[in-house]
Amino acid sequence: MLQFLSKLAARSPWIYRINAGSCNGCDVEMATTALIPRYDVERLGCKYCGSPRHADVVLISGPLTLRVRDKVLRVYNEIPHPKVTVAVGVCPVSGGCFRDGYTVGADIDHYIPLDVIVPGCPPRPQAIMEGVLKAVEIWRARLEESVCSHS
């Protein structure tokens, strides 16, 4: 029964995005993916939410600049468990072409575990959707774990 419920629950992944200093290419594509009719993630149960406290799937873009780092980590910690992270674009993973900049803190993996990576500069919306679906798989397993461990 609980497993069934958690399966149902996993069909409502709410998305939150964090811009960790990206060139806004990935951000625009994330917004496009999340909000426009052509990709309509709402039919997959996704909802784009404004508050980190409502989120399940976190999309991170950008190479994590020094100045935004603590704020990103704080926001990340405000997201209730269970959650999954998706790195959109290559910047969070390796810094992309900003690696070696004096304010760039990539790789993000030092601070936040990355569950799914969607390479691209920026990845096309379909690729982001693919990443989100992959993330939902992982999230479902985590939900089951947490639901079953509670009882």
Partner: protein, 185 residues
């Protein structure tokens, strides 16, 4: 093409500085670029109001080290002020004295010089005289001032380690996912 603008820049510059070398270049489209070289930062205080008066717009300010990490023989800093008058670009470069490099602020005449001046002040450690709002602009307080003024390559100073460690991990990663083997799927 913009002869009147050219004329008024020439008058403004010669009125402010007397006979100084203002020379013109042009690109393939016939746009003209004026170049002025100043040897003393104080001259800015006369050329800035003159240009402001003839209606020029400050586009941006570039500061640079003459030697770029010690590879060239010249020393010291220079600042290039780029102005626009009706499509004409006039670049006024100023040599700064060393220890410490200092320059007067032109914000009183060009409101938008504010950010530009704060930026080069924090990136190069140039001392600004009479700036109305001399705070840091972009740099995180945890970073040292004058970050672009270093003679050591920045990568080793800051994050060079990250590149090396990342690549070590890549070289160590042996299991290739299905689609990455041999490229196309």
């Amino acid at each position: 093409m913009n002869a009147t603008a050219k004329q008024s820049v020439e008058t403004a510059v010669s009125r402010a500085l007397g006979a100084v070398g203002l020379h013109w270049t042009a690109d393939v489209n016939g746009n003209s670029f004026g170049w002025v070289k100043l040897c003393a930062p104080e001259s800015l205080l006369s050329i800035a109001p003159a240009l402001a008066q003839c209606g020029a717009r400050l586009m941006t300010v570039t500061a640079y080290r003459n030697d770029k990490f010690g590879r060239m023989e010249m020393e010291g800093h220079e600042i290039a002020y780029h102005f626009d008058l009706e499509g004409l670009v006039v670049t006024v470069s100023v040599c700064l004295p060393d220890n410490p490099p200092r320059v007067p602020s032109i914000t009183p005449w060009f409101k938008n010089a504010d950010w530009n001046e704060r930026e080069f002040a924090e990136l190069y450690g140039i001392v600004l005289e009479d700036h109305p709002n001399p705070r840091r602009l972009f740099l995180d307080p945890s970073l040292d001032a004058a970050i672009l003024d270093r003679l050591v390559p920045l990568s080793t100073m800051m994050n060079g380690a990250s590149t090396t460690t990342l690549w070590e991990k890549v070289f160590a990663g042996k299991q290739l996912p299905e689609w990455a083997k041999g490229g196309n799927s």
